[in-house]
């Protein structure tokens, strides 16, 4: 962790909200990406991301400065997302009635990079397909896979974030990867 970040956190511990704003700016895109890929819906992901930062601010005293700040923050975001998924599972699952409509505000996701409409369409369909496959993963595989392939984190970092041994992280990634393979390719026998 760099010195600037250490200074910022010191200030936040004293209640400096401007310093906290800088931390939010640093990490908001990563936190949002984790939440979005976990829950599959931009609005819910935004709410969860906000909640993650508010929690981080309110519990900054619990942050151990010997560890990476991002590890601690991503752990809050991952746990909030998992809690959210569990709550959603136990409540009447209204969103299950209209599959494929979640996370559809793809205009906010797709970069405006001058693609032709056809290319955009293909990209959009791909995005939706991949997102719906991520969503089929059980949550413990999903979080490991998201941290690894969306955030590109090391197995050690993932183990710190999820508070499980590296060996368990590997098992979850291997199983998640195998499930994705089965569902995403014809070789796996198509839809599971």
């Amino acid at each position: 962790m760099d010195q600037k970040e250490k200074r910022l956190i010191k200030k936040v511990k004293k209640g400096d909200q401007q310093a906290f704003a800088e931390l939010v700016d640093r990490y908001k895109n990563s936190v949002f990406a984790i939440c979005f890929r976990m829950v599959g819906n931009t609005q819910e992901a935004e709410d969860l991301s906000q909640e993650a930062f508010i929690r981080a601010y309110n519990h900054i005293d619990q942050y151990d400065h010997e560890r990476k700040f991002s590890t601690w923050l991503f752990r809050i975001a991952t746990n909030l997302s998992i809690d959210f998924l569990r709550r959603r599972k136990t409540s009447v699952s209204l969103d299950a009635v209209v599959p494929g409509t979640e996370g559809l505000s793809l205009n906010t996701i797709l970069p405006d990079n001058g693609e032709l409409p056809d290319e955009q369409m293909v990209r959009r369909e791909n995005e939706e397909m991949v997102q719906s496959e991520i969503k089929k993963l059980p949550e413990k595989y999903r979080s490991a896979v998201v941290l690894k392939y969306i955030e590109d984190l090391s197995l050690k970092e993932i183990s710190d974030i999820m508070d499980i041994p590296v060996g368990t992280v590997k098992t979850r990634i291997h199983r998640g990867r195998e499930m994705l393979r089965k569902n995403m390719t014809a070789g796996g026998g198509g839809q599971a």
């Binding site: 909200q17 908001k28 906010t108 590997k170 070789g187």
Partner: protein, 82 residues
């Protein structure tokens, strides 16, 4: 996979996790050159994770940081307030 797949599956995982030794990598690639099924399996694993890696990072609305700050408890200003 119908060949002695367990061994190669675990090698595939090691290679994909970037934890394989050079020798293990060589053993796997030599096998893949001769085994259509294992090669297909390995390619499929790589294909699926490549798709994940290529997902665009979603964009947050511009006012995100502001809206987080607005929800924080009032700033402590010991020096100013009495």
């Amino acid at each position: 996979m119908s060949c002695a797949s367990k061994k190669y599956l675990s090698l595939m995982n090691k290679v994909l996790d970037q934890e394989a030794t050079e020798q293990e990598e060589r053993i796997l690639y030599e096998h893949l050159a001769n085994c259509v099924e294992c090669r297909a399996h390995f390619d499929e694993l790589k294909y699926s994770t490549d798709l994940l890696c290529r997902l665009a990072h979603p964009q947050l609305p511009a006012g995100f940081t502001k809206s987080v700050l607005a929800q924080l408890p009032p700033e402590k200003r010991h020096a100013i307030r009495r």
